[in-house]
């Protein structure tokens, strides 16, 4: 089976890829407009490959898309270095660039969302997303089981997500037993 028939659920695959590509492109390029262009270019090249029949199944889509995306982003960075900041655009560090994922409406809601959390939950989110500490290290310092801290973080994030009206199903929110208990 080749071509568009080779990839099942094409719309769903492309939708999920686009959302992930947007995050990666913004982090690497630091500019939402450049990121949008990079996502569109990547998807266009990916669809060409699918139409040409060189991608036979769903399993091949993500690695090929990732390879294309890296080339597209590298090209954008090279083009930007040639332009040498003609437009005065400020390149941000990667963590600061990711904050451009937050829409203006969400920015207005962030403070209210955080205010609904307990001080200890705010501190936990800060240690995770600002300081970048591992859950295991935080749990050890607090003297609590890692899974309990993980669930607390997950619930706090879900409450914030509800305020932001953003999709939030944290990685570790799962009915499956935690790794430590298996």
């Amino acid at each position: 089976m080749t071509g568009l028939q080779g990839v099942r659920n094409l719309d769903a695959v492309i939708g999920q890829l686009s959302a992930g590509l947007e995050i990666v492109a913004i982090r690497r390029l630091g500019n939402p407009d450049d990121a949008r262009d990079a996502v569109q270019e990547t998807i266009a090249r990916l669809l060409e490959r699918i139409r040409a029949g060189t991608i036979a199944s769903d399993d091949e889509v993500v690695p090929i898309a990732w390879g294309i995306a890296k080339h597209v982003i590298a090209d954008a960075l090279r083009a930007r270095s040639r332009e040498t900041e003609v437009d005065g655009e400020v390149a941000l560090s990667a963590p600061d660039a990711l904050e451009r994922l937050v829409t203006s409406e969400q920015r207005a809601a962030v403070a209210a969302g955080l205010a609904q959390l307990t001080p200890s939950d705010r501190e936990l989110l800060k240690r995770c997303f600002v300081d970048g500490e591992r859950i295991g290290a935080i749990a050890a310092q607090l003297g609590e089981p890692a899974e309990r801290v993980r669930k607390r973080k997950s619930r706090a994030l879900a409450r914030l997500a509800a305020v932001l009206e953003a999709p939030s199903r944290p990685c570790h929110e799962s009915a499956a037993p935690p790794m430590e208990e298996r």
Binding site: G20, L21, I23, V24, R27, V62, P63, A65, W66, T84, E85, G88, E89, V90, A91, L92, S93, A94, P95, D96, L98, E99, L101, V102, Q106, R107, A108, A109, V110, A111, A112, G113, L114, A115, Q116, L125, K126, C128, F129, V130, G132, E133, R134, I135, G136, R150, L157, L160, L164, A166, P167, S168, R169, P170, C171, H172, S174, A175, A176, M179
Partner: protein, 245 residues
């Protein structure tokens, strides 16, 4: 039942910038196909924005109810909303206090201009005009009129790409409140290898980032190996790190 994602901590450390460089590629490839990690990164980025303390105001909605016209139920709801808003104001106040030490580091005194040659040597009519603009700009700079100096240097920089012009443009812009313009100018000043302005330009760019509340970007500028060993650069980087703890 959803399949558990084993990238439990990676998404948070990706947002925070502490995921090791050699793990980023693999995580980003995973991110393309993992909706749960995408959600974690998006909400985590919002959490980081609110919790790291930002120079940009995070506006909490504060409706203005009219209790005299509303029912008791509406008044109760209004009070609840006001309670949330008051808590949000409290969070912002705490963040502002937490951010105060970093704001102190953003203080910037433009270097004194002692009349050294800033512009490129002129050998044509165009460059003579550009040189004259630079001289006029530096006269304003020396007089402490940084806004005028920035405007003149900005015009001169279109024809004169020397590091000196870019550096003093950055200094004048930062002194007159244009942090974003200053970052771009300081970066041009630091981009020319081996020029005498590179270290001061890195410090200036870092202070401009601090003024915008972007401490990670400030540290990234100071980590540039071309200038990172300079005492002033190291001292500012150490101060940022110690005040964030």
């Amino acid at each position: 039942m959803t399949t558990p994602c084993l990238r439990v901590d990676d998404a948070a450390r990706y947002v925070a910038g502490t995921l090791p460089a050699d793990a980023i590629d693999a995580f980003e490839e995973h991110l393309l196909a993992c909706a749960v990690c995408q959600g974690e990164v998006r909400v985590g980025a919002a959490a980081r924005l609110g919790l790291r303390g930002s120079a940009e105001p995070l506006v909490a909605p504060l409706p203005a109810p009219d209790p005299a016209r509303g029912s008791a139920r509406l008044r109760a709801r209004a009070l609840a909303v006001l309670g949330v808003a008051a808590a949000a104001v409290l969070v912002l106040t705490v963040q502002a206090r937490r951010n105060a030490p970093l704001r102190a580091l953003a203080a910037y005194s433009p270097p004194v201009f002692v009349g050294a040659t800033v512009r490129a040597a002129s050998d044509s009519g165009d460059s003579e005009r550009a040189a004259a603009r630079v001289d006029l700009a530096m006269a304003a700079y020396a007089a402490g009129d940084f806004r005028v100096a920035a405007a003149r240097l900005n015009a001169a920089a279109t024809a004169d790409s020397t590091a000196g012009v870019a550096f003093y443009l950055g200094a004048a812009q930062l002194a007159s409140g244009d942090a974003r313009g200053a970052i771009a100018a300081f970066r041009r000043a630091a981009a020319v290898a081996g020029n005498p302005y590179a270290e001061d330009a890195a410090v200036g760019a870092a202070k401009a980032f601090l003024r915008l509340g972007l401490a990670d970007s400030a540290l990234a500028v100071l980590a540039n190996p071309a200038v990172g060993a300079a005492p002033a650069v190291q001292a500012l980087a150490d101060s940022i790190r110690s005040r964030r703890r």
